[in-house]
């Protein structure tokens, strides 16, 4: 695991290209150390990333070992299958080799249905929650009128919306998307509101003095200044969306991952159940990693070395 890490390179003028710019030719001496440092920092970052991956894998392996130990100890294959048989089931499910397959269309169709519902609910929550949070954070009048309503709705669990959603939309996509939306919007509102509320006053003053007011101020100063908080909101909101899509589908949908879970319980197939749970976990983790890390790379990691 050891990675050789070079010392920061010597300081001096050098030919290079700065991110997001045309080649600037020979950078003055003042830019040299900054640029060299960036190379050094990149090596260091990669080393840390490798260490993180290694430790992450070890953590998962330890969990699997514990699970294996439990299933040996209890020896109840029917309700606590061994990790190895779940892994075999998982591979077979992913390769669409499970016979007989008791759940209609193959796993990818279900997964895609769930993914779409989660993303639509999450997207709606972001599109409404983030602007609302920005306004709540900056406009006292709106905050005083609306915040009690938001705070009052927040403790109602997403799952409690399902019966009402079924009455309104019937069983299916709309009901599930609605409960995803109704749950994912809160972390985004709260985080964005906190971020907008905590912007340094001098940065706002700078924005106003340089001609930004109203919507311009919101878009060009308040929004970017709140991004670190917004990203936290997106991260939590995405996790919430993913959890709620499964919960919603268990009660209100004839397809999707949640339906797979309920149906495998009806079929008394614990191995299928756990396979689906593993899929939910892995896909949720990957979705969050891909979406949120991309947002992070394009924003705060670019603006601020401390964020990396």
């Amino acid at each position: 695991m050891s990675v050789e890490l070079k010392e920061p390179p010597a300081i001096g003028p050098r030919q290079d290209r700065l991110p997001g710019s045309q080649p600037v030719g020979v950078i003055a001496e003042t830019a040299g150390p900054i640029d060299s440092f960036r190379l050094y920092a990149r090596g260091k970052r990669r080393q840390l990333a490798r260490r993180r991956a290694f430790r992450g894998v070890v953590g998962v392996l330890v969990l699997l070992l514990l699970w294996q130990g439990m299933s040996w100890a209890f020896n109840l294959e029917l309700i606590l299958p061994r990790p190895l048989s779940v892994m075999t089931d998982l591979v077979k499910t992913l390769l669409i080799l499970v016979k007989p397959w008791l759940y209609g269309p193959n796993v990818y169709v279900h997964l895609f249905d769930s993914f779409l519902r989660a993303m639509i609910g999450f997207g709606l929550a972001a599109v409404i929650g983030i602007p609302l949070g920005l306004v709540l954070g900056r406009v006292t009048t709106v905050r005083e009128y609306v915040m009690p309503v938001v705070r009052g709705l927040y403790p109602i669990p997403g799952i409690a919306w399902i019966p009402l959603a079924i009455l309104w939309f019937g069983l299916g996509n709309e009901a599930v998307v609605f409960v995803v939306f109704a749950s994912a919007i809160f972390p985004m509102i709260f985080s964005t509101e906190a971020g907008a509320h905590r912007i340094s006053p001098v940065v706002l003053d700078a924005g106003r003095c340089f001609g930004a007011r109203g919507l311009k101020l919101l878009l060009n100063v308040i929004l970017p200044a709140s991004v670190p908080y917004i990203i936290t909101g997106l991260r939590v909101g995405l996790g919430t969306a993913w959890r709620m899509v499964v919960a919603g589908e268990m009660l209100a949908s004839p397809d999707g991952i949640g339906y797979l879970l309920v149906e495998s319980r009806f079929q008394f197939r614990a191995s299928d159940l756990m396979t689906v749970m593993v899929i939910v976990g892995v896909v949720g983790y990957l979705t969050e990693k891909i979406i949120i890390d991309t947002v992070e790379k394009r924003t705060i990691e670019k603006w601020d070395a401390r964020a990396t």
């Binding site: 700065l18 991110p19 997001g20 710019s21 600037v24 950078i27 003055a28 003042t30 830019a31 900054i34 340094s200 001098v202 940065v203 003053d205 700078a206 924005g207 106003r208 003095c209 340089f210 001609g211 930004a212 311009k216 060009n220 100063v221 970017p224 200044a225 991004v227 924003t299 670019k302 603006w303 601020d304 070395a305 401390r306």
Partner: protein
């Protein structure tokens, strides 16, 4: 021949503040930060306001910037009363207050774009100003990649870029910088000012800085803050910090400040 103090006018008044009062509720009751505050700044003048901490000098600058309102009295900017902040004044804050999410050049373009400049002309103007302050090579870096001194130069450039600004306001812009770097920033500032003359209102508590930069120095007396004395600095530019006349002017202001605080 030295011009009589406070009379070295070079043009019409850019700023005319008459009988300004400002009070606010502090933790221990109402505070009169300004009272009977009179000041004129004429076009092309570099005016420094000096005074002890808490004399209201930053408050006055905020009023001129439109970020605070006087309790009574009025500040006229080119003859009309100030209504809120705007790009007809450029400002440099004590903390550089750059936009962390914008590159250096985009920070400098910000005010221009907000006031409706086209992309191309804003870029051209910003590049020109960055060239003057010596940061053209750093145009595409983000603020976190710059040293403290460079950040302050970007902040100066951002204000300087506003061609429509009748006045540049600077609120102790270099006070958090070490002495050596501060001198180099002052040199940069004066060089910029000589290349592209502007009207400047510069707040500081550093007497050396005031003598080095200013055409005229307004000395403030505290609680409540008001202009107690205006002194013209008759030294030609570029100024030498070690020249005898520099020491003489510094002594004059120091003496005046001690006399005022003793009263």
């Amino acid at each position: 021949m030295m011009p009589s103090e406070g009379q070295a006018r070079r043009g019409p008044d850019v700023i005319h503040a008459a009988a300004i009062a400002h009070r606010y509720e502090g933790p221990a009751g109402w505070i009169n930060s300004l009272q009977g505050f009179d000041l004129r700044i004429s076009r092309g003048e570099f005016l420094c306001i000096v005074g002890p901490s808490g004399c209201g000098k930053s408050t006055f600058l905020k009023i001129v910037a439109g970020l605070a309102q006087p309790t009574s009295g009025q500040v006229l900017l080119n003859g009309s009363p100030i209504k809120g902040p705007g790009v007809d004044r450029g400002i440099v804050f004590q903390e550089h207050a750059l936009f962390a999410w914008l590159t250096v050049i985009k920070n400098v373009e910000f005010g221009l774009k907000m006031s409706g400049w086209s992309k191309a002309s804003a870029r051209e103007r910003a590049m020109h100003v960055l060239d003057i302050v010596g940061l053209a090579q750093q145009a595409h870096l983000y603020p976190y990649q710059l040293s403290g001194g460079m950040k302050h130069r970007v902040a100066v450039a951002r204000a300087w870029a506003l061609t429509d600004a009748a006045l540049l306001l600077m609120d102790e812009p270099f006070s958090a910088i070490d002495a050596i770097n501060r001198m180099s920033l002052q040199d940069h500032l004066i060089k910029t000012w000589l290349i592209e003359p502007r009207t400047v209102l510069y707040v500081t508590h550093d007497i050396d800085e005031a003598v080095y930069l200013a055409d005229r120095v307004a000395i403030l007396k505290s609680s409540p803050g008001r202009v107690a004395k205006e002194i013209t600095i008759p030294i030609s530019r570029p100024r030498d910090r070690n020249a005898p006349e520099f020491a003489r002017e510094r002594a004059r202001i120091t003496e005046e400040m001690f006399r005022l605080s003793a009263l």
